[in-house]
Amino acid sequence: MTRNISRRDALKVLGAGSGLLLVHCGPIKPPQGEKEKSDYDWEKHSYAYVVDTTRCIGCCACMRACRAENDVPPGVFRTWVERYEVDEAGEVRVDAATHDDFVFGTTDTKVSKAFFVPKLCNHCKKSVCNQVCPVGAAYRTKDGVVLVDHDRCIGCGYCVQACPYGSRFISPRTHMAEKCTLCYHRITRGEKPACVASCPKGARIFGDLRDPQSEISVILKQQRFRVLKPEMGTQPNCYYLGLDREVV
């Protein structure tokens, strides 16, 4: 019965092959105990960021510092400052100083209330961008920073669409997703992010929540703060003081 045997044989081959497949389905695990050669331990830190909108004067020093520190190409922004002007009739006018070396100009609005709101990546605890990255190039570090792996990003743009805050963009230089990294290269060396370090009014505050004496821990324990778009369920890790209802 050569015909039946050849069918059986074929099935055996296929069965063995599927077994091999199942065994190799998972990723190859790295050897245990292999740590990076550095003395920075990310388990010891939990970073957070506070924006005090009552102090911001809209000088945009943060935008210039970020651009210089991180080589951000023109036309895209890792951080930016918005200006809200509410006039006497209650109409709201919003703009951002994204042209001309980041300087806000005068307007002829008959202002009754106006303020600046710095914006940046919120480094959400349940970030949508990490959820939707198809190749695992978007991730959140154990110390609370959402980053992009530039060795794996394919530039599909799904994370850009998924971010409710408009924090992400496809870099015109690298054609990959890019965004604020909280100056990870600075904060892991004990420095502040460039935007925080350059703000002359202390409107941007950065710190380690693991340190109960840090400015940020004290602020978050004692002051009233809000986050942007809480209804999205992203649990942003960037907290705003003095946020007006017009800010989205």
Partner: protein
């Protein structure tokens, strides 16, 4: 005053991402027609069954092209299968697409085996290629053909949920994105599937008529009438779902309605209200209703069905455009809109889109030269009678 987040001025998902679901939609629709014949025994569709299957296959081959044009790093495209992040709908693409491709290739192989064998019996490079495709087994005994038929039927049945998955996951990809109020709806998955079927049937009707016109063949009337009825039924469902989605948003009027209303009435008025729903839904509905319910002469019926198919092709393309581009015109600041015009000669421009869209038709023509897709086509009787 309009305000758009600084990073939203440029639209990330361009006309390539409009084209991709459009093409997979054509695939899904054409495959469903083929399966209506192979699985559900709709024999009046026999004349187009082969053609629809191979159309599905050829369009499927071209489906990844718009994506490759769009990716910032297309050379890393295979990462989507090496380290897929299954919490992402997009990660499904690699596996769903390849599984479905394998299935369609197999089904084409089993269904068209007879024609391949006929072609393989000659001499020359093409005949050799056909023999290689057949894995050098030219057995065409009746038993073997019955096995072919059984397997093809099984594959056609298995392919229906896979086709729905291939196209539906794109709908889910959009519908699950909570950040974008224009996209975020549970209905998106279903809307995409049904409008895909509409576009698939439409392209078959359109293409069948064009092929028949070029070659001077008769168009089988029972087949076209049946396709017209299916098209009518599926378009009613598809348009109803699309209407249901927008009416639901317009009725609930949650916070984002203020800006969505402006999106519809300002930026998308022509493409969404006037064209997608007005002209290209209403008129095909009327035409197909007439051809389904009113007994008319053959030429008029065929003309109306053909026109309806052209308009529905436009309707589905516009629906993809309005969803993909419309959702990105709207800023997440909920305060304004950006604008988008696909360039002409850029990598993601209109010329590339046109090439990607027309190439499958050329490949189909080439396929037909090797293995006929309309083996029972009858030339038109030239006595001038209907």
């Amino acid at each position: 005053m309009d305000y758009v987040f600084p990073n939203e001025l440029n639209v990330t998902w361009t006309v390539m991402i409009v084209l991709y679901p459009y093409i997979t939609g054509l695939v899904a629709g054409a495959f469903i027609v083929s399966s209506l014949y192979h699985v559900f025994g709709r024999h009046e569709l026999e004349p187009v069954a082969r053609f629809s299957l191979v159309s599905a296959f050829v369009f499927l081959l071209f489906a990844p092209l718009p994506l490759l044009m769009h990716l910032g790093h297309p050379e890393r495209a295979l990462s989507i299968m090496v380290t897929p992040n299954f919490s992402s709908a997009m990660a499904g693409f690699g596996f769903i697409y390849n599984t479905y491709l394998v299935l369609v290739v197999l089904e084409v192989w089993f269904v068209m085996r007879g024609q391949f064998i006929a072609r393989a019996k000659g001499t020359g490079p093409i005949a050799f290629a056909c023999r290689a495709i057949l894995l050098f087994n030219l057995d065409e005994s009746a038993e073997t053909r019955r096995v072919d038929h059984k397997i093809a039927t099984f594959l056609a049945g298995l392919g229906i949920p896979l086709a729905c998955l291939l196209h539906g996951y794109v709908g889910f990809l959009f519908g699950s994105l909570k950040a974008n109020p224009w996209w975020s709806t549970a209905l998106m998955f279903v809307i995409f599937i049904f409008s895909a079927i509409v576009s698939g049937i439409s392209v078959l009707i359109f293409h069948t008529f064009v092929v028949a016109w070029i070659n001077g063949w008769e168009v089988e009337e029972k087949c076209i009438r049946a396709l017209g009825k299916y098209l009518w039924g599926f378009m009613i469902i598809a348009v109803s779902l699309e209407l249901l989605e927008i009416l639901s948003i317009a009725y609930k009027q949650t916070e984002e309605w203020e800006v969505l209303e402006r999106l519809i009435s300002e930026k998308l008025f022509i493409s969404y209200v006037v064209l997608q729903f007005g002209l290209f839904s209403l008129v095909p509905f009327v035409f197909l209703a007439i051809t389904a319910l009113v007994p008319l002469g053959k030429r008029l019926t065929h003309a109306l069905i053909w026109l309806a198919s052209v308009m529905l092709l436009m309707q589905v393309l516009l629906m993809r455009w309005n969803v993909v581009i419309g959702g990105q015109l709207l800023s997440k600041s909920m305060r304004g809109f950006t604008s988008y015009f696909p360039g002409l000669f850029e990598r993601e421009g209109l010329v590339v889109a046109a090439i990607i869209f027309t190439a499958p038709f050329l490949i189909l023509w080439g396929f037909n030269r090797v293995v006929p897709l309309f083996p029972h086509a009858v030339s038109k009787v030239r006595t001038g009678m209907n």
